[in-house]
Amino acid sequence: MAINFPPPRRDPRSDPWHQLDAMARAAFPVAATVLGLLALAVPLGLPEQAALAPAFLFASVYFWSLFRPAAMTPALVFALGLFADLLGGGPLGLDVLLLLLLCALTRRWRRKLARWSFLLVWLVFSGFAAAGAALSFALTALFSLTLLPPAPALVEAGLAIGFYPLLAVLFTRAHRSLAADAEI
């Protein structure tokens, strides 16, 4: 009598499909950020569109550094900043510096921040966004040796702060679905 043994279960981690899936998951935060930046560079004719891209970039790096730091490592943040700098027309390295500082601070306070309520996380982000806009304003003025009108910096900070809840909702959904499916 022949006994049919079930075939031995393969370790899912060695499955190429599984690996591909894991890679796609790990790459999602950075890929979504790059795609968002590319989409915001399309001349859509939106009001204050120039300030939307840095606002999105800031919110994205903050959120993922806070909740999925493995997918938003400092090296990736560096690459993202460089991409944003080359895509835009500002001084090379400015976005890199700002995003790395944001990433460093967020990572340092991560353990506390992740336990706080959404409102507090938003409040901290507002502080970061305001400081980032001020720093970028100051450095640009320093590099061009002119006194700039402050309106663009205010708009940038305002948009970043105002759009953060919406982006956070979208990111949280993505984050949950990434985490949920990762267990399978």
Binding site: G45, A51, G89, V96, L100
Partner: protein
């Protein structure tokens, strides 16, 4: 993969961020010290992205047109009346223009006037807003062997848009006249006084260095000046508008909604030619003349 002991790996992880931040400072200095490097890197990224943007340019333009159309439907009646009035007004101007054109032709014939050589131009689609919060520039998608070089002049259907600052093999970047770094020699039409138009990073560039005895007048036409040999004389730039005590210029070109721009080669040498080693594309065939 490199095998490291756990303390070594932890130390390395702790060092990454400071090292990367130092790298960012190095990049800032490098971008300041070697502007050409940043320019090349931007141009090559532009070359990669321009075809992609060109692919989606049509649907995007159609979507934008549809949105605009919906807006128009609302204000149809009022707009119609305004257009009729404007048409009436323009018809009068057309008669004046035709008379002046005829007069001009006879005067030129009598004076043995040597006309300016017709400028060659290429038309390119604006595919991306390549600026940022503190920079105003747009990316053009152009075919290979486009013949666009640094320093050429970009105009839309209404007036001066800016100047080419970077060229790649498939893309070119135009610095708009509103950019912080833009400086353009201009002439005030009434007084014929010279001035410099400086970008302010806002929507209105500002007039600087006009002669003390001839301040710019409100609503005076501003055109380019041939001084410094960077622009031909007489390209329309905009109108003077005072904001407080500062004379600003309302650009004639629609800088916030650029679709197509024409890039003109006036063979001017005022802007330094591209650095040695940069590839120069062959000159395009002469095209139809352009009257500003």
């Amino acid at each position: 993969m490199l095998r490291l002991s756990i303390p070594a790996r932890q130390a390395l992880a702790r060092l990454t961020l400071p090292l990367l931040i130092a790298g960012a400072f190095a990049l800032l200095l490098l971008g300041k010290a070697d502007a050409l490097l940043a320019e090349r890197a931007r141009a090559s990224l532009g070359d990669t992205l321009a075809p992609l943007y060109d692919l989606i340019a049509n649907p995007v333009a159609r979507a934008r047109a549809a949105i605009a159309e919906a807006g128009h439907l609302v204000s149809l009646v009022g707009e119609n009346a305004a257009l009729r009035a404007e048409n009436e007004h323009l018809r009068q101007w057309q008669a004046v223009a035709l008379a002046l054109e005829a007069e001009n032709a006879t005067l030129r014939a009598n004076l043995h006037w040597i006309p300016d050589p017709a400028a060659a131009y290429v038309t390119a689609r604006v595919v991306a807003d390549a600026g940022g919060v503190y920079a105003h520039s747009v990316l053009l998608a152009v075919g290979p062997r486009h013949g666009i070089t640094k320093g050429q002049v970009a105009l839309d259907d209404r007036g001066l848009v800016g100047r080419i600052t970077e060229t790649g093999s498939r893309s070119a970047r135009v610095m708009l006249i509103t950019d912080l770094n833009s400086r353009i020699p201009v002439t005030l039409e009434h007084s014929r006084a010279r001035a410099i138009l400086a970008g302010t990073n806002g929507t209105l560039p500002r007039l600087l260095f006009w002669p003390e005895d001839t301040p710019p007048e409100e609503d005076e036409l501003v055109v380019t000046s041939a001084e410094a040999n960077a622009f031909p004389a007489g390209l329309p730039v905009g109108h003077v508008h005072y904001v407080g005590a500062a004379p600003m210029v309302v650009p004639a070109a629609r800088l916030t909604r650029l679709d197509m721009v024409r890039v003109f080669d006036y063979h001017l040498a005022g802007v330094p030619p591209p650095e040695a080693g940069e590839r120069r594309a062959p000159k395009p065939a002469p095209a139809a003349p352009y009257e500003p």
